[in-house]
């Protein structure tokens, strides 16, 4: 039915199968939307946040998706500025993932705030000294950049491309994409950094506070760096998952390996910097404020020193070690482990910088506060995931996301073979519909 919209040279599952898939994920999405409406209509009392946990799972999710969405700007940097042409195979997908991550982040912010209808005050009445203002501005602008980067891909849909204006627009945008990408990198550097700054400037909270350069605490640079390092791992991870689900090779190995290699070195350098930062903080910053490292990791049921070990060693040095070695990158299992660990690592880091910051007592007579999200918070946090899966599904079906897909999966070579297709549960057998038919 919708075959006219499906790119040439690739195979997709039947529309019914696709709709079934969409409706399953859509149900989850609706659950999230329901929870979101509850939060909007009834207020944030729907959450388990409280006056100690003013920032909770949403802000973590926000920081995490932005960190892992950092793959878009870093891949863009490598592709457009440094001219790594191998990445052509994955850049579209990196942009798409980035777009999903950033739109999710903005959505989360829209229900995280107590007065969503006044959300625009952050722009209108901006306080330029606030890291959050910097986040808001750079985040929105960069989302604009991602949209600009995403538009040509949409325009390349077979039907849209037939309109001469759109065809030319897409072409022209490609032509000057390097300018956009460079702006994107500039903006990303600041908003990733300022997200780190959000925690790092809290001089009232020794657990989060870091010294730095000028107005920027060390976390500013660590956040940018970790997003650049781990973002590509997330792009690889999602690509791998997509390949597994669709049971086809979508991106050339050379692209994956190059990205993995760069990511590996980035992680290694990041984690060394992070270690130095932690060391300095534990031995100089915190003691100068009368606290020891173990004050932050004891007397509570969850936050033990294990979390630091997990973040730095298991999810830092281990993936770095795998990714910087050729053997590690080439080994599919090792690559899987490495990218998962790297993504988990950056998520732990963001968790620590949001939720543990809130949990640690500051006044000597205060106490650790523990928190568990309400179902409304969980649903609204899953909501962007469902939205992302749907958008990936749609884009994969109707847009030429993977330029090398037809080359990697030539239809002509398998004309007689029944092929399983696309996202939905893989076991659903499909009648093959040749593209363009």
């Amino acid at each position: 039915m919708d075959s006219a919209l499906i790119p040439r040279g690739v195979k997709r599952c039947s529309l019914w199968q696709f709709l079934l898939f969409i409706s399953v994920v859509g149900a989850v999405l609706l659950w999230g939307v329901y929870a979101m409406l509850l939060c909007w209509i009834k207020g944030l009392n729907q959450t388990n946040m409280n006056d100690y946990y003013g920032f909770a799972i949403w802000i973590w999710a926000d920081l995490a998706v932005i960190a892992v969405g950092g793959g878009a700007f870093f891949t863009g940097l490598l592709r457009y500025i440094f001219g790594k042409d191998e990445l052509k195979s994955i850049i579209n997908y990196a942009v798409l993932i980035g777009f999903i991550c950033y739109s999710s982040a903005l959505l989360i912010l829209a229900y995280d705030i107590g007065q969503p209808l006044r959300g625009w005050f952050i722009f209108w009445h901006a306080n330029v000294h606030s890291m959050l203002t910097e986040v808001a501005f750079c985040l929105s602008c960069y989302f604009g950049v991602l949209t600009i980067e995403f538009i040509p891909l949409i325009l390349e849909n077979r039907q849209i491309d037939r309109v001469p204006f759109f065809h030319h627009l897409s072409h022209n945008m490609h032509e000057i994409m390097a300018v956009f990408a460079a702006t994107g990198v500039f903006l990303s550097f600041f908003h990733q950094g300022s997200l780190g700054g959000v925690a790092g400037v809290l001089f009232g909270r020794p657990f989060a506070f870091r010294e730095g350069i000028l107005i920027w605490p060390w976390t500013f640079f660590l956040f940018t760096w970790s997003a650049a390092a781990c973002g590509p791992c997330f792009t690889i991870l999602i690509t791998k998952i997509t390949e597994t689900v669709t049971r086809k090779k979508l991106v050339k190995d050379s692209a994956i390996e190059l990205l993995a290699k760069i990511s590996g070195w980035m992680i290694l350098t990041y984690i060394i910097a992070k270690t130095i930062d932690t060391w300095y903080w534990a031995t100089v910053t915190a003691p100068s404020l009368g606290q020891t490292l173990m004050d932050f990791y004891s007397n509570n049921p969850l936050y033990g020193i294990w979390i630091l070990f997990a973040e730095i060693v298991i999810c830092g040095f281990v993936p770095a070690a795998i990714l910087i070695t050729k053997k590690g990158r080439k080994n599919s299992v090792a690559l899987w482990i490495a990218v998962i660990l790297a993504v988990v690592g950056v998520c732990i880091n963001r968790w620590v910088m949001v939720l543990q910051v809130m949990a640690v007592p500051v006044m000597s007579f205060d106490y650790w506060a523990m928190y568990f999200p309400s179902w409304q918070e969980i649903a609204t946090t899953i909501l962007p995931v469902a939205y992302g899966i749907i958008l990936v599904g749609l884009a994969h079906r109707y847009l030429p996301v993977f330029p090398d897909e037809s080359e990697l999966n030539p239809i002509e070579t398998l004309p007689a073979e029944e092929e399983e297709t696309v996202e939905p549960p893989v076991d659903l057998e499909q009648e093959l519909k040749p593209a363009g038919a």
């Binding site: 007065q115 209808l117 006044r118 625009w120 005050f121």
Partner: protein
């Protein structure tokens, strides 16, 4: 077709984009933000002209002066009255929340008559006329049958015009049964009566004292006139006055004191006598006072020296003898020492032995009726109404014994023994109570052994409540004749107990009555008039306000102007005129007190085998436990280690908790011989091992949702223990057993 669809889509997209970019979007965005800034469901208080009204707070017997800020005809804030002799600008947490009672959901709006079973909460509105005639009819019937003595009144106080109007009414009607809510004041009155031969209230000159020896009195926990005590405590901070607090639990007072001496609960008398022992032995007492103004000292001295050496007292009290000796010495050597008693807020009278022993310490150092000492303050003399003329029926009724046994052969000196009333009704040994008025009191909540009290109430066929609020007693009444709230009425606020000089406050209407309520004073007058005859004749006033104005005479003008009246030429009595005993001197060993007999600890309920631990109550200024309960603001101030959700916490020493396998926050079952309760455990190092402490003031079943149903009423777990001399409630705790729930 395809073209059409495309143009349609373009139109849609273009339209959407156009609208988004048009000023409309920005306008809507702005409007919606403005809308959130003035949501119609968020109240906007109306502005108006500000004014201030001086009045007096009567939420407890503290008698603080208040200044109420008004905007037009709304009262918006209660503040302490500047320059008031008691509180000078400060105010307690309850007084500050008074507007939540005035405007709160617990007010009774109109006279109510019970429908259906008692306590079910079903009422019908009746008119004031109907209500008064119904009461008059019931009382008239009793009187006709010669049963006027079976009518009784439970009153929060027996001082001031309204309680005195009740008293007058009951006298001319023919019943001796006006019963006052009991407190440590009862014990003090009795002590002053027996040792000094006077009918007076105790007055303590805290402001000038420099060494306070407190036997468990919650100086900063609501004892006495609370704000005055807070101020006195701060005065000591400035002047270097010392406070020694003796009690088994680290209360706020103990924490604020200069020295906290934990003591085995219930052994305070022994300590007082032990201190006396040391003072006498080391000849540290005021020889002049002892020699010239006291009687019976030698006998008492022998007894104290024989029985209460520091070592034996150490064994009883758990305080080592060196501490006792040092304490006695510093007490006696202080220039203005003062010993006081009355545990916590002093809501329980305690044993008379204890009060006399503590008072004897004051006598030993000679600080009776002296600056920085304890005064016997005569009853205020401003109420001088003509004697009532009793008819024959009234005279017969007044001849009858009081139902509570006060003034009987057994307890000849006590004036009120409300604690004995439930037992008297339930046993039915004397005569039944057929009509009961409750005013300024909430006995169903405040009296110990709630079950027995409820049972007794159930036996009284006609209960009338005068409460402004739907409290526990009002809930279980047959008729509610709601008084104006305290901010809506005129009333005299007599000198609070503990004040060494008279200060009469004037409560006056800050706002016009909000509901169809009536001043209780007016109701008494109307009732008297409805009953006619001598009764009506005894109440010649047209209204309560007229009565009050007339009664106060020249003071009225001063009170209206300043908000209070204080004695302009109040003087300190000399020792020669102080004592009105047979000997004309201070009696160290009035025979009636049994001081010469060996000190016998109050026998509290429960046996050690079944109930291995001791349960004591504790008072907090943040938990009102009197006539009213905590308003929402005060509830908000209650710590989460006292109340969490609807669970109240007991305080337990970590050692005791360990022995019972209990952890912080764990649920436990508390059982005493009187009742059971589910509680949560809070570990507190400041409580003596082996003790369990439970706060007073929670566990209300009445009032609003902000208060009702939270925690446990301590009175459900304890019963009264009669003091052998006074008949007053001497219980300081009860044995208890604790198990994991």
């Amino acid at each position: 077709m395809k073209i059409d669809r495309r143009s349609f889509l373009s139109f849609l997209i273009g339209g959407a984009a156009g609208t988004t970019l048009s000023p409309l979007t920005w306008k809507l965005m702005d409007d919606s933000a403005i809308w959130t800034q003035m949501w119609p469901w968020t109240p906007v208080p109306e502005d108006g002209e500000a004014s201030y009204v001086n009045s007096a707070c009567s939420l407890c017997s503290g008698g603080c002066g208040i200044t109420v800020r008004k905007i037009d005809d709304r009262a918006v804030k209660i503040e302490g009255m500047k320059g008031h002799p008691l509180n000078n600008g400060g105010l307690c947490i309850l007084g500050l929340s008074g507007l939540q009672l005035l405007y709160g959901p617990t007010r009774v709006w109109t006279p109510l008559k019970r429908v259906g079973k008692r306590g079910r909460g079903r009422w019908e509105k009746i008119s004031w006329k109907g209500a008064v005639s119904e009461v008059a009819e019931t009382l008239g019937d009793l009187r006709k049958k010669g049963q006027s003595h079976t009518a009784g009144i439970i009153s929060g106080s027996d001082r001031g015009t309204v309680p005195r109007l009740f008293d007058r009414f009951l006298t001319v009607y023919g019943s001796p049964n006006l019963m006052r809510t009991s407190s440590i004041i009862d014990s003090y009155e009795l002590t002053l009566h027996l040792m000094q031969g006077v009918q007076a209230l105790p007055g303590f000159d805290f402001e000038n004292a420099d060494f306070i020896l407190s036997f468990g009195s919650g100086i900063v926990d609501g004892w006495g006139s609370p704000v005055r005590m807070f101020r006195a405590n701060s005065t000591w901070c400035n002047t270097g006055g010392k406070v020694v607090q003796i009690e088994p639990r680290l209360s706020n007072t103990a924490a604020k004191s200069d020295k906290w001496i934990p003591i085995n609960p219930g052994t305070e008398t022994a300590l007082a006598l032990g201190i006396a022992h040391v003072i006498i032995k080391e000849s540290l007492y005021d020889a002049e006072f002892i020699n010239y103004y006291s009687e019976g000292f030698e006998d008492w001295k022998r007894f104290v020296l024989d029985e209460y050496g520091p070592d034996s007292v150490a064994t009883i009290t758990g305080i080592d003898s060196a501490t006792i000796i040092a304490l006695a010495s510093s007490f006696a050597r202080a220039s203005k020492p003062l010993a006081i008693c009355g545990r916590g807020q002093g809501t329980t009278p305690g044993s008379l032995n204890e009060c006399t022993a503590v008072h004897a310490l004051n006598a030993l150092v000679g600080n009776i009726n002296k600056k920085g000492g304890i005064f016997a303050v005569a009853e205020p003399d401003y109420i001088n109404w003509p004697e009532v003329e009793m008819d024959a029926r009234a005279a017969v009724g007044m001849q009858k014994d009081r139902l509570d046994g006060a003034g009987s052969k057994k307890y000849p000196f006590s004036r009120h023994l409300l604690n004995r009333l439930p037992q008297a009704i339930n046993s039915g040994e004397k005569y039944p109570l057929k009509a009961l008025f409750v005013a300024g009191a909430n006995p169903l909540y405040t009296m110990s052994d709630s079950k027995a009290v409820k049972k007794a109430f159930d036996k009284v066929p006609f209960v009338v409540s005068f409460s402004s609020y739907m409290d526990e007693t009002a809930q279980n009444a047959d008729l509610i004749l709601p008084n104006h709230a305290y901010l809506e009425r005129y009333e005299d606020i007599p000198t609070p107990a503990g004040m060494p000089k008279p200060v009469i406050g004037l409560s006056r209407p800050v706002v016009k009555p909000l509901f169809n309520t009536k001043h209780t004073g007016d109701v008494i007058i109307l009732l008297a008039k409805a009953m006619g005859g001598n009764i009506a004749d005894a109440f010649a006033w047209n209204s309560y306000d007229e009565c009050l104005k007339e009664t106060l005479g020249y003071k009225w003008r001063v009170m209206v102007e300043k908000g209070f009246w204080s004695h302009p030429d109040f003087f300190v009595q000399t020792h020669e005129e102080s004592f009105d005993t047979v000997s004309g001197k201070f009696e160290f060993a009035p025979k009636e007190t049994g001081s010469l007999k060996q000190f016998k600890p109050v026998k509290i309920e429960g046996d050690k085998t079944n109930y291995p631990l001791l349960l004591i109550p504790y008072d907090s200024i943040r938990l009102a436990n009197g006539v009213v309960g905590d308003p929402p603001f005060v509830m908000k101030s209650v710590d989460d280690t006292v109340l969490k959700g609807t669970d109240v916490f007991i305080e337990l020493n970590p050692k005791t908790a360990g022995e019972h396998g209990l952890r912080e926050g764990q649920l436990a079952m508390l059982s005493t011989p009187v009742g059971k309760a589910r509680v949560k455990v809070h570990l507190f190092d400041g409580i003596m091992p082996g003790l369990v402490a439970l706060p007073r003031g929670l566990g209300h079943t009445a009032f609003d949702d902000y208060l009702a149903g939270k925690g446990i009423n301590f009175n459900e777990l304890i019963g009264p223990v009669e003091d052998s001399v006074s008949g007053l409630d001497a219980a300081w705790g009860i044995r208890v057993k604790l198990a994991k729930a």
